[in-house]
């Protein structure tokens, strides 16, 4: 059986992870199909139902301007998911670059780069993100960039660790003695074999990025209204905390379910990709 086949079979056995994957798929579908499935447009105002509790007309209620919360959440999922994916993409790219260079070249290059990682890690990430947002005006794009630029350190460490062991392996040494240059060794020989921990980190990272975006939007320095995002609907929930529980409850639940699903998929991937656990299984 192929390696992919083994991994897929192991992943399927983990029912929680499969459930998570199904939810992730459903969310992506909902985000893509937002114009078709949301009952109202996200900015449509129902003037007779301002801050209305959940009803048949508005299943998740309406906000302080009479906008339908369910529709805003469906449209908001586009923001949350795209911020999650793109921020993580940026982080993974930087992490792979820094990690593979540090791991491949070793020595001075390695110690300088890893010291830099240490320094970046000594800022509480969220605090650093806030500082940058204070200076650059917040928009969806700056948020994606900032979350990505402050979130690559774990990936860099993982990739570096893989490179340190892989570069000593026979297939790399063989390729090297056959005259392959560093570029080929890094990107064609070693990197493809170093990626499995990156997949796991990336999946968990999407979850982290979604949480960060929603926290920023909740604080009013993320995605700016009237563009709906789960975080800024929650901010409205805080302003109406005495009267409208539904403004707080549903968007937060959506964040919880989304983040939980990504975490479950990530953990499932981790187990499926870990060869040590394959061994353990054979012995059982």
């Amino acid at each position: 059986m192929s390696l992919k086949g083994i991994i897929w079979r192991r992943f399927k056995k983990n029912s929680l992870a499969v459930m998570g994957a199904a939810v992730v798929l459903a969310l992506v579908l909902a985000a893509v199909l937002a114009p078709l499935i949301s009952p109202y447009t996200p900015t449509q105002i129902d003037i007779d139902h301002v801050i209305a509790p959940p009803s048949w007309r508005h299943p998740f209620g309406t906000d302080e301007l009479g906008r339908d919360v369910l529709s805003r959440m469906i449209w908001g999922s586009r923001i949350s998911l795209s911020v999650g994916f793109i921020a993580m993409g940026i982080a993974v790219l930087i992490g792979i670059l820094v990690g593979s260079i540090a791991g491949f070249y070793g020595g001075k290059v390695d110690s300088v780069l890893m010291r830099f990682v240490d320094i970046m890690l000594s800022f509480p990430t969220f605090i650093l993100i806030l500082a940058v947002i204070a200076i650059i005006p917040p928009s969806i794009f700056t948020i994606m960039a900032v979350i990505g630029v402050t979130g690559w350190m774990d990936v860099a460490r993982l990739v570096r660790a893989e490179f340190l062991t892989l570069k000593q392996r026979d297939f790399v040494l063989a390729s090297k003695s056959a005259g392959a240059n560093s570029f080929r060794l890094i990107f064609r020989e070693i990197l493809p074999n170093a990626l499995s921990p990156v997949f796991v980190a990336a999946t968990l990272g999407v979850a982290g990025a979604i949480l960060t975006e929603s926290a920023l939007s909740f604080l009013g320095i993320g995605v700016q209204p009237p563009t709906p995002s789960w975080g800024n609907i929650l901010a409205a929930g805080k302003d109406n905390i005495e009267t409208a529980w539904w403004l707080s409850f549903y968007p937060g639940l959506a964040i919880l379910i989304t983040v939980l699903s990504y975490n479950l998929v990530g953990e499932g991937l981790r187990d499926a990709l870990d060869p040590r656990l394959w061994e353990a299984e054979r012995h059982n």
Partner: protein
């Protein structure tokens, strides 16, 4: 041991320097300088006044000179004056540190009290109902946005039941209370913030102590202890637990940045006058001296957390201290 601590302190120097470089770079390389921000509100500020302000902040000098000057003042704990009210940044920060530290220490204690038993019981009774339920709860705990949890608790305990206060750290009528009454009032205000700020940590640490304990139980000396007929309780609590605690000690030190990052969110939600709220306010008003001061202090606190983790690890594990293992 002192050699170990000294070496560790020495290693911190380049990192601390790096922290100041990044802080300086973040604030100064960004488009728009502090003077423009400060004068943006009043459009009539003349070019001359702007130049004066620039001179005042030393912005007319090259960046490297600015950095060295700033670092020199920083070393003397002179963080400059706040843009918003002209007060000393150090003074503004130091009057807010106690609240933030108190809440963080209390939530760290809460995390330990709650998470260690959960993790240890899950590990010793692996695959039991308790283990399965706590695993699911831990996953949910990981994924819960704490600001949402805070809102829900405020709605439930504050608005619906009306039993807990939802903002500030003291009631308006607090001056009428005796010392004990004041303490109780203060405690009531802290229940929700401490719980919210510790919540994520409980999930993380219980997961971590579970796997650490599982690792310890698998070791040969545990098998030996069992083989020589020690009662199970003694095997777990004396032999396995001690070794399982080693990596846990590290994680506690490393949880400092998370707690600090969280304090911005929960202090803002619960209107607690701490460092987190001050940071948020300075972000909103672009008060650069305060932002830079707090940023460096937070990063230094993170370093101290790491240091404590390493030192306590060295204390409990002679291999680390004597430099044999690493």
């Amino acid at each position: 041991m002192f050699g170990f601590i000294g070496k560790r302190l020495f290693q911190m120097v380049p990192i601390l320097l790096g922290i100041t470089v990044i802080t300086f770079a973040v604030v100064h390389l960004a488009p728009g300088n502090p003077v423009e921000v400060q004068t943006a509100m009043s459009l009539k500020t003349s070019a001359e006044a702007q130049a004066n302000l620039k001179k005042l902040y030393g912005l007319d000098k090259p960046l490297t000179t600015q950095y060295v000057d700033w670092l020199g003042r920083f070393a003397k704990l002179d963080f400059g004056k706040s843009f918003t009210d002209g007060r000393d940044v150090l003074e503004k920060i130091s009057e807010r540190i106690p609240v933030t530290l108190t809440i963080n220490v209390l939530s760290l204690i809460l995390i330990l009290i709650a998470a260690l038993p959960i993790g240890i019981i899950s590990a010793t009774k692996r695959y039991s109902l308790f283990d399965k339920i706590s695993t699911v709860l831990v996953f949910i705990g990981f994924s819960t946005p704490t600001f949402w949890l805070a809102l829900l608790l405020m709605i439930f305990f504050g608005v619906q039941l009306g039993v807990l206060p939802i903002s500030g750290i003291q009631s308006i009528d607090v001056s009428g209370l005796g010392p004990l009454g004041r303490l109780a009032d203060w405690g009531r205000h802290l229940i929700l913030p401490v719980f919210v700020s510790g919540f994520g940590g409980i999930a993380g640490l219980s997961r971590y102590s579970r796997s650490s304990m599982l690792e310890a139980i698998r070791q040969d000396y545990v098998r030996t202890a069992r083989a020589k007929g020690l009662p199970e309780g003694q095997v777990i609590w004396r032999h396995a637990l001690r070794n399982a605690l080693l990596p846990i000690v590290t994680i506690i030190g490393l949880s400092v940045p998370g707690l600090i990052g969280g304090s911005v969110i929960f202090e803002t939600i619960f209107s607690i006058p701490g460092m987190g709220q001050l940071y948020y306010q300075s972000i909103m008003s672009r008060d650069y001296p305060t932002i830079m001061g707090i940023l460096v202090i937070f990063a230094v606190l993170t370093q101290i957390g790491n240091l404590i983790a390493d030192i306590s690890y060295g204390l409990v594990d002679p291999r680390i201290r004597l430099g044999g293992a690493r």
